[in-house]
């Protein structure tokens, strides 16, 4: 089930989604990390970030909102404290990075590129609190392309750009970052949503709005993956509400070369390994040479 994403070999197409699997430690008791295609660690910034005040999460129908606010220990502490653990495994490690400016993205990318045991970078351009104006990097094709270029200039690692679904046409952004040199795109990040406590007439999340994830967003994610896959030639990594091997395979049929599993981990700590297993069964049952045979085979 090996897949190659921009020169990066994954044992199988199943990765963990950033922010939902910590740095692997918390789930290592449940899942054999060596059996995963890749581990995308949680978003790393230049300096440690405290994150948003609680409450940070809220359940919704078929999903959840989160406004963790990228709480993380910072890129230096990650390299020192978390990477050694990940290096004890034979699994692709993808660092998800975030910056408040292009320069910060570049700095984080540089540091990680020098660290042994990081195999690719995933650039999160879908963050609400960035320097310029109201629009986030990810909603503006020019800004997204600019970030991509800056990160590419700092690293020899494959660069995956992670796109936001909160846009009118995701293919415009996907093409912009492809032209800027991205080696792959991953989508979707969370849909911006909100939840209200009627009793107190306050938002459930201290941050007011949060990111919607889980099966609720799967139809939107599938649609965007399908749209993007038709417009770019670089690999597309699909995610959004994947709970089962069937879900993952649907994303591949829509055009994703690999997938990421996020919120499902919370519902079922064994989700990733069950998905890998289910995919393996599918390959066997359909007598495929490689799972990649189904990528983009949707008949329309």
């Amino acid at each position: 089930m090996v897949v190659e994403i921009a020169g990066l070999k994954l044992k199988n197409p199943v990765m963990t989604a950033s922010g939902t699997f910590g740095c692997g430690e918390e789930y290592a008791g449940y899942v054999d990390l060596n059996r995963l295609g890749g581990i995308v660690v949680k978003g790393l910034s230049l300096k440690p970030r405290l994150g948003n005040p609680p409450p940070r999460i809220m359940e919704t129908a078929g999903g959840m909102l989160n406004a963790v606010g990228l709480q993380n220990i910072g890129v230096d502490a990650f390299i020192e404290e978390k990477l050694p653990f990940l290096r004890t495994y034979d699994v692709a490690v993808i660092a998800n990075i975030y910056g408040e400016s292009c320069a910060e993205y570049a700095q984080v990318a540089r540091k990680l590129s020098a660290a042994p045991g990081v195999h690719a970078l995933e650039v999160n351009v879908s963050c609400p609190n960035v320097k310029k104006g109201g629009l986030s990097f990810g909603a503006d094709p020019k800004a997204a392309a600019e970030v991509t270029k800056r990160v590419k200039a700092e690293t020899h690692l494959p660069v995956i750009v992670k796109l936001t679904p909160n846009v009118t046409d995701i293919t415009v952004i996907a093409r912009a970052v492809e032209e800027a040199g991205a080696d792959a795109v991953s989508l979707i990040n969370t849909l911006t949503g909100m939840s209200i406590d009627l009793k107190t007439r306050t938002p459930h999340l201290k941050n007011i709005t949060g990111g919607l994830s889980g099966p609720a967003i799967k139809p939107v994610a599938l649609r965007m993956v399908w749209q993007a896959a038709q417009k770019v030639t670089i690999p597309v990594i699909g995610m959004g509400g994947i709970m089962t091997a069937e879900d993952a395979l649907e994303f591949m049929v829509a055009g994703a070369k690999a997938v990421q599993v996020g919120t499902a981990n919370f519902i079922n700590p064994l989700a990733t390994s069950e998905i890998v297993q289910g995919m393996r069964q599918y390959v066997k049952h359909h007598k495929l040479k490689n799972i990649t045979e189904i990528v983009g085979t949707l008949k329309v």
């Binding site: 290592a28 359940e59 495994y89 919370f266």
Partner: protein, 274 residues
């Protein structure tokens, strides 16, 4: 490399009874290999095969026993909203999925022999398992702890029967005086406070935020008190950063800790009430 020793348990509901209006005791048959829970630990529970409620719910382990053929996990919970309502609707024979026991639980310092348990409302749940545990530690007939148990009304005072099995020194109070003393449980404790030598005393508390906050004010830094906190949870295992609680770190600076993995039990004096 971490040892892969953690599992998901499929349990079968063998009882799910409303012991008081809005309070339910669920008994779950689990495989006999279910790990021995430490007091203060919790489980993430969900209905097997269903995605509604979407997130699992954290519930403290109220009691645990292991028989020949199976283990029995008991959960005592208040119907607080949609999720617990659906749980309360489960009938005998329903299947649930359990992840746990999770979290760090209470620590018992053998040198502090005077143990005080302070429970408000449903906060009694984790303290019951602690009482059971202390009882076992201190041997038959001994009185392992002094318990202060409070609730709004007699109707909401749950868990007393269970506690009576392990402790004979229980002070009961209700906000409206419908059972025991008419007082807040923190006030009742405060009046007794002199009896408890700070150096020899370990306090264990669980209850609503205002109660714990007032307790923090009462105890200051003279007593060592472990509190079990609650926050909304997604993963329960420390991965999502959803269950943040503000605490003071070693340098006294504010930081966020995960209730699920760094707690749910915290040193009361470290908690920052936002």
């Amino acid at each position: 490399m971490a040892i892969m020793n953690k599992q998901i348990t499929i349990g079968s509901v063998s009882g799910n009874d409303e012991i008081r209006p809005g309070y339910v005791l669920m008994t779950i048959h689990v495989h006999r290999s279910f790990p021995e829970p430490r007091p203060g630990q919790f489980v993430m529970i969900r209905i097997a095969g269903l995605q509604e409620p979407f997130l699992s719910r954290p519930l403290s382990i109220f009691s645990f026993s292991r028989g020949r053929s199976h283990g029995l996990v008991k959960l005592l919970y208040r119907v607080a909203g949609k999720g617990t309502q659906i749980l309360a609707g489960l009938i005998r024979g329903s299947q649930v999925e359990i992840v746990g026991p999770l979290g760090k639980g209470y620590t018992v310092d053998p040198s502090r022999e005077n143990r005080v348990l302070i429970a408000g409302g449903i906060g009694v749940a984790p303290l019951s398992l602690l009482a059971q545990h202390l009882c076992r530690l201190s041997g038959r007939g001994a009185n392992p702890a002094v318990v202060y148990l409070g609730a709004k009304t007699a109707d909401e005072l749950v868990g007393l029967d269970q506690l009576h099995k392990y402790c004979n020194s229980i002070r009961v109070c209700t906000d409206d005086g419908s059972l025991g003393e008419k007082s807040l449980v923190t006030r009742t404790f405060q009046k007794d406070m002199k009896k408890h030598d700070p150096a020899r005393t370990s306090i264990y508390a669980c209850g609503p935020k205002p109660m714990l906050q007032s307790l923090a004010g009462i105890l200051k830094d003279r007593y060592f008190c472990q509190v079990s906190l609650e926050e909304r949870m997604a993963c329960g295992v420390g991965a999502c950063m959803g269950c943040a609680v503000a605490v003071r770190d070693e340098n006294g600076d504010k930081t966020y800790r995960r209730v699920c993995a760094d707690g749910p039990v915290f040193d009361l004096q470290k908690v920052i009430w936002e």
